[in-house]
């Protein structure tokens, strides 16, 4: 530090910079470093003695080894299937125009904003063994039993592909838009055929997008919990193992498995970060015209493409449509029929009239709002430290290495599966400890806002960081030369220009927290029961209509928030 200070001897070390550093350090220490260290240390201890016994114990159990391999297997298969679906769709919809193209393009990212639990529930209603599709086939062909059961590997992979293919679709689509059209033209003029252009010009440029999409899909799939829980059947994945170990009261096993899962996820994050860097490099290196979408002229191909677009739009919309339909079904009216027989608004009326259900809504809204606003405020501290505004920055004594470490630490909770975050917070603050003193967080209302904050603040930080990096640094310099003090520059120039991006990120964090299930199910208490827990318990009690109604209201709130966020994004650019 002395070395750093002497280098910038002409800079005064002011209190506001010190405060920023202090706040950031404390949140990272309490929220990221300490909980994760606690998990690691507990996994390496048995009744207070340092030992590897936990790992030996865990890894010697067939079922644990199996669950690790299953998690990896499911995730790899998911990546493969998502690429298989997402890449051709990106090519088709990004490079050609035809009727009904827009319908699909509008719905394409829908699975990304569907809360995993709600998506799972909708899938059960649609594709389950007593779901609409199965009943339809059964009635059409007059079968005795349901034609299939939604269980195990096929069910899991089908659901994962439905929810995660958008990563490939969106990343490759964006990659295609960035590819300079003149490169393909240059290759053509040099005598390359269409397939050579694809193989030697287009695909190499898409590689960073493909790898980023693959890594992201892999990470999300490793963290998947709702689907394996509700229709995984005998497929035992790691997240589920951790949950059941905790339910059994086997804390040592839960903690040890958590560390293993965390290591896999963080390793993926590190690789992902490197590829994200190259992706930006590619974008910066290429400045040219984008290829315009070509109309498909051949009549037959045009028909096929149009039918595909319509088919995929229906596939994308069906789970949500099903959910809406079931939410209006009278409880008990849907037994063996293809569609529910009787409809009512009672499910919704119950939702808004019963104090128990309105309390659930208030809990979720309140906790998500607390987490999102805290994330917004905190993100300004972090981004001020991470983004180097100009060479005359007061904080320029923070080296590039520290800034990178800071960004990585912020991203850690985002890369860790919700199960891991919940277990680590529970482990660190479940009993009086070194940093928390006699305060025990577990069992209080505040545990969930804290977990939501940790899980989703990276989204807000990234959004604000992107806005901040786009901001022309000479604007602040101009304000300075016109006589504006630091606080005037912030409130009159910086804030008015970055708030749309920051608020869009905050809304995203808010809606994701609203449907959060994975971590909530591990640490919730009666005082803070969130919507997702209510949905799961309605489902367990076979109150399908009520479960669906919760889901529909949740989707409604998400849709409104995302529309506002989208407007803000557009407004910003």
């Amino acid at each position: 530090m002395a070395k750093l200070a002497s280098k910038s001897s002409r800079h005064r070390f002011d209190t506001s910079s010190l405060l920023l550093i202090l706040i950031t350090a404390v949140v990272l220490l309490y929220g990221v470093i300490y909980p994760n260290l606690s998990v690691v240390t507990s996994s390496l201890q048995q009744s207070g003695v340092w030992t590897l016994a936990n790992y030996r114990g865990v890894l010697s159990q067939r079922i644990v080894l199996e669950s690790i391999l299953t998690s990896l297997g499911v995730s790899l298969a998911t990546v493969f299937l998502c690429a298989l679906v997402g890449v051709p769709l990106a090519f088709l919809f990004e490079r050609y125009t035809f009727p009904a193209r827009r319908a699909f393009a509008a719905l394409a990212a829908l699975p990304l904003v569907l809360p995993p639990l709600v998506g799972t529930v909708a899938f059960i209603f649609l594709c389950g063994e007593s779901g609409i599709l199965a009943r339809l086939i059964q009635h059409l062909f007059r079968l005795q039993n349901s034609p299939w059961s939604l269980r195990g590997w096929p069910a899991l992979l089908l659901f994962h592909t439905y929810t995660m293919y958008p990563f490939f679709y969106v990343f490759v689509g964006a990659g295609l838009r960035r590819v300079d059209a003149s490169l393909a033209e240059a290759a053509r003029s040099l005598g390359a055929s269409g397939s050579i252009v694809l193989r030697r010009v287009l695909l190499p440029q898409l590689t960073p997008s493909l790898i980023a999409a693959a890594l992201l899909t892999f990470m999300i799939s490793m963290a998947s919990f709702s689907a394996p829980l509700l229709f995984g059947g005998n497929v035992r994945v790691l997240t589920l193992e951790i949950f059941t170990a905790r339910q059994r009261g086997d804390a040592a096993m839960a903690v040890t498995e958590t560390v293993i899962l965390a290591i896999i996820s963080l390793a993926t994050l590190v690789v992902f970060q490197r590829y994200e860097g190259t992706r930006r490099f590619v974008a910066a290196a290429l400045k040219g015209s984008t290829r315009r979408r070509q109309p498909i002229t051949s009549g037959r191909l045009r028909t096929v493409a149009t039918l595909l677009a319509i088919l995929f739009s229906i596939v994308l919309a069906l789970p949500v449509v099903t959910l809406v339909l079931v939410s209006f079904a009278r409880e008990g009216s849907w037994t063996t029929e293809t569609l529910p027989a009787a409809y009512t608004t009672a499910n919704y009326l119950r939702l808004f009239s019963e104090p128990q259900s309105s309390e659930v809504f208030i809990n979720s809204l309140l906790m998500s709002a607390i987490a999102a606003v805290a994330a917004l405020l905190w993100s300004f501290c972090v981004v001020t430290l991470v983004v180097r505004r100009s060479r005359s920055d007061k904080l320029k004594f923070i080296s590039q290495g520290w800034r990178r470490l800071l960004s990585l630490l912020v991203l850690v909770p985002w890369a860790l599966p919700g199960t891991v975050v919940a277990v680590s917070v529970a482990e660190a603050y479940g009993k009086p400890g070194l940093l928390s003193g006699s305060f025990v967080l577990v069992g209080t209302f505040w545990i969930l806002p804290v977990v939501y904050f940790l899980r989703f603040m990276p989204l807000v930080v990234r959004a604000l960081q992107a806005s901040m990096e786009q901001l022309d640094p000479t604007l602040e310099e101009a304000a300075g030369s016109l006589g504006a003090r630091a606080w005037q520059r912030f409130f009159r120039v910086t804030l008015p220009l970055v708030w749309p991006g920051a608020v869009a990120g905050t809304l995203l964090a808010f809606v994701i927290a609203l449907g959060e299930y994975v971590a909530s199910v591990i640490v919730f208490v009666p005082a803070n029961r969130p919507i997702s827990i209510a949905i799961a318990s309605e489902l367990r009690d076979f109150n399908l209509g009520a479960a669906a109604a919760y889901g529909v209201v949740l989707i409604g709130i998400i849709a409104i928030s995302m529309t506002v966020a989208g407007k803000l994004e557009r407004w910003r650019s």
């Binding site: 002409r10 800079h11 100009s390 060479r391 005359s392 022309d472 000479t474 604007l475 310099e477 101009a478 304000a479 300075g480 030369s481 016109l482 006589g483 504006a484 003090r485 005037q488 009159r492 120039v493 008015p496 220009l497």
Partner: protein
């Protein structure tokens, strides 16, 4: 006493020395230019004057007071940025009023001064417009209005015309100079465009590679470059490597060119006489090389073959190979000259210069 004074300013970024021991003075009411090729440290120097960068060593004085570490917002200098740096979320009025709000001026005074500034840059009534609706030239005027609205004690320009197209650039140049003179302002103007600097500035400092090579009036710099890098940077120049002959007298020096083995004679001051056996550079501007088809045997007349004639509209450039010495001459009409033919080139003694050796 100079209004602004830079004393031995140096600034490094990492291992690169951006500005190296620069000292210069700017007097009140002067339009002062910082001229140099890109990456020469001129913008860094301007940013240090503005307070946007801190020099590593040296000091900056304004009106006798040391302002080296004073933050930009307390200097009261107006600055016009290369990309204008207009606030995209504020309209024209609010952009121009920005510095007045920071100074907590009354509404009446603000209205009056913004209107006055917009009047001066010939954009009256544009206050309600959004800045992204304006053309490049108009945005540039708003940037100037914003800088003069605060009634700056010093006006700084960072290549303000480089984003305009050629015809607009020349027009704006004239208006800018007129405006600064009318308001009695002192200005420091950064540019890499020699023609622009010559047209605008009373005095210019030429920076090359972070070092200040020469300061002076435009004519002085052009006709008496202090150094080979200045001679190269300011306009085209024939640089002739030569050696002084022992036969030279103190009033008229005699040089032998290393290429072509020609003898050149011209008067030099005794104290700048070059050492006898060390190569030096002589320089002469292409416009001072006159060509004729007759063979002359006068002093400083070289015979050469025409290599290339580049037609350039009002003037043309003729390249001549005089026995291995390559020369450029600027002629109004290349009448009668033909590539491949012989001609004689006269290097007028009064325009030949001896450049100080490096």
């Amino acid at each position: 006493m100079p209004l602004l004074s830079l004393q031995n300013i140096s600034k490094s970024f990492g291992t690169t020395r951006a500005v190296n021991d620069v000292s210069l003075d700017v007097s009140k009411g002067e339009f002062f230019g910082l001229l140099g090729p890109s990456g020469c440290g001129k913008t860094t120097t301007l940013r240090m004057i503005a307070g946007l960068e801190q020099p590593d060593t040296g000091s900056i004085k304004f009106d006798g007071k040391d302002i080296t570490t004073l933050p930009p917002e307390r200097r009261g200098f107006g600055m016009v940025f290369q990309n204008y740096a207009l606030f995209p979320h504020l309209n024209v009025f609010e952009n121009v009023a920005f510095g007045l709000r920071a100074r907590r001026k009354s509404k009446a005074e603000m209205d009056e001064r913004v209107a006055g500034a917009l009047e001066l840059v010939q954009l009256p009534g544009y206050g309600k417009r959004r800045v992204d609706e304006l053309s490049g030239g108009q945005q540039q005027r708003v940037a100037i209005a914003r800088a003069i609205a605060i009634e700056p004690v010093l006006l700084l320009f960072d290549e303000p015309l480089s984003n305009l197209d050629v015809s607009l650039r020349e027009e704006t140049r004239g208006e800018l100079r007129e405006l600064v003179t009318r308001l009695g302002l002192t200005a420091v103007y950064v540019t890499h465009d020699q023609e622009e600097a010559f047209a605008l500035c009373d005095r210019i400092s030429v920076l090359v590679g972070g070092t200040l090579m020469q300061s002076g009036q435009p004519r002085e710099l052009y006709e008496q470059p202090a150094d080979i890098s200045v001679a190269r940077f300011l306009g085209r120049n024939n640089l002739i490597r030569s050696m002084r002959l022992s036969s030279s007298k103190s009033s008229e020096a005699e040089f032998k060119t290393l290429e072509g083995d020609h003898t050149l004679k011209f008067p030099v001051n005794h104290d700048e006489l070059a050492p006898l056996n060390k190569p030096v550079f002589l320089s002469i501007r292409p416009e001072h090389v006159s060509l004729s088809l007759q063979n002359g045997r006068n002093n400083n007349t070289l015979t050469g073959r025409i290599q290339e004639i580049v037609y350039g509209g009002a003037t043309s450039t003729v390249r001549i190979d005089a026995n291995g010495l390559l020369l450029e001459a600027l002629v109004l009409q290349p009448n009668g000259l033909r590539v491949g033919e012989e001609c004689s080139a006269v290097l007028a003694p009064e325009h030949l210069r001896l450049l100080p050796s490096e």
